[in-house]
């Protein structure tokens, strides 16, 4: 059973300064302000990461996102919760998402 209750209650919204694109079979996040030491920086998400990005809408809680993913992917709640925690932390650190409720 999932244990991290405060985390599961959180709701995130996407930062509109990040544009998502699917090119070939790759899912990219492209910052509108894409300069970093003169380089265009890209973030590549895998299939699950891309789905999580799609599900982040400022309204769904992490728990609701988790429930949807459990229906779509073959994994355990524990593993999924751990993955969600890491991915959302990383996205937040990049500034691609922000907490809107917790």
């Amino acid at each position: 059973m999932p244990t991290n209750t405060p985390f599961l209650k959180k709701q995130y919204s996407r930062n509109e300064q990040f544009i998502s694109r699917q090119i070939a079979d790759e899912f990219l996040l492209i910052p509108l302000s894409n300069q970093l030491n003169g380089e265009n920086r890209l973030f590549v998400l895998n299939e699950v990461g891309a789905r999580i990005w799609e599900l982040i809408d400022g309204g769904r809680s992490v728990q609701q996102i988790e429930q949807l993913l459990l229906e779509e992917f073959d994994t355990t709640p524990e593993q999924l919760e751990e993955d969600l925690l890491r991915l959302l932390d990383q996205l937040q650190e990049l500034g691609a998402i922000q907490i809107v409720a917790e």
């Binding site: 090119i23 003169g38 265009n40 229906e71 992917f73 990383q90």
Partner: protein, 349 residues
Amino acid sequence: MSDPERGRGEEKSSVMKDSQQIGDMSAEVWSEQLFQRFQGKPFPLTGQWELTCRCNLKCVMCYTDPFNTPAQISRELSYEEIVRILDEIHAAGCLELTFTGGEPFARRDFLDIYTYAKKKGFLLTIFTNGTLITPRIADHLKAYPPSMIEVSFHGLTRQSFDQITLGHGSYDRCLEGIALILGKGLPLTLKTVGMTINRDEILKIKEFVGGLEENVQYKFGSDIRPKLDGSEDVYQYQLPREEIQAIEQADEEFHADRVQQERCKQEWIDQGKQLCGGGKYKFHIDAYGQLQLCSNNRRRGYDLRQGSFREGFHQFLPEFPCTARQSGQGEPLVNIGTGDSQKKLTETA
């Protein structure tokens, strides 16, 4: 809510194990990885779009200048057409676009076009003469920064600069534009076409650029090409090859760049690779919606007003004649496409 198409058996677990990972890389590295994976299969990753031939200057060597007339400008793509084509290019997978002219800022709707493309997730470069950049434009570019702004800078004195642009006051306006760009911390490259008029200033311009800010880049070229109306009077400004070599050899960085370019070129030839990416991963669109291999090869075009970008890039562009394509050297023009498709093709001598 479950989608049977999503996740398949054991694959699902392995994907989940990687789900915490976000690939963080430069577009250049990502593009290189994509090319390797595609193994030569055409993919329209990068394009150059000549949005207009309109320009406030009349540079003596400019190949688009003959089409800087009201009659020709009236034939150019409208905002609505450009947006539709942008949508198609986006759907086809293009990541990097360069907007050029003419002078792109001479289009009153350029910032609208630029911003639309930016919000679609394109990585954008702007080629400009810099003279039309205002504080308002600089502010807007700061909010939606391009990957690079390349400013043509062909002279280091008012006299030589204006003699090349045929625009009184253009030198001062260009410097003002450069100051606005730098003031906003935007990425900047200055570039010079070496000609008889500025032959003695090229190395001084490079030194001037070196004294700007640390990240400002400089490009020197000597490519002069016939004008779009076919006239070749531009060659009167061309520097002899020996003189260009002398300029390159007089500067350590120029010389190193030349050596590196020649080495790369030879390696590609030895490996049997195509020397130009046109039709492979690059494309060019002119102001009238003609999809072409590159700005320097307009022998054939595919009309994006009549056909789709995807069809043009994948079905027609690979067959367009190109001397830089190893197997295509010396090939005669061939007719491809039939019926409606043929109507989308144009050919110039």
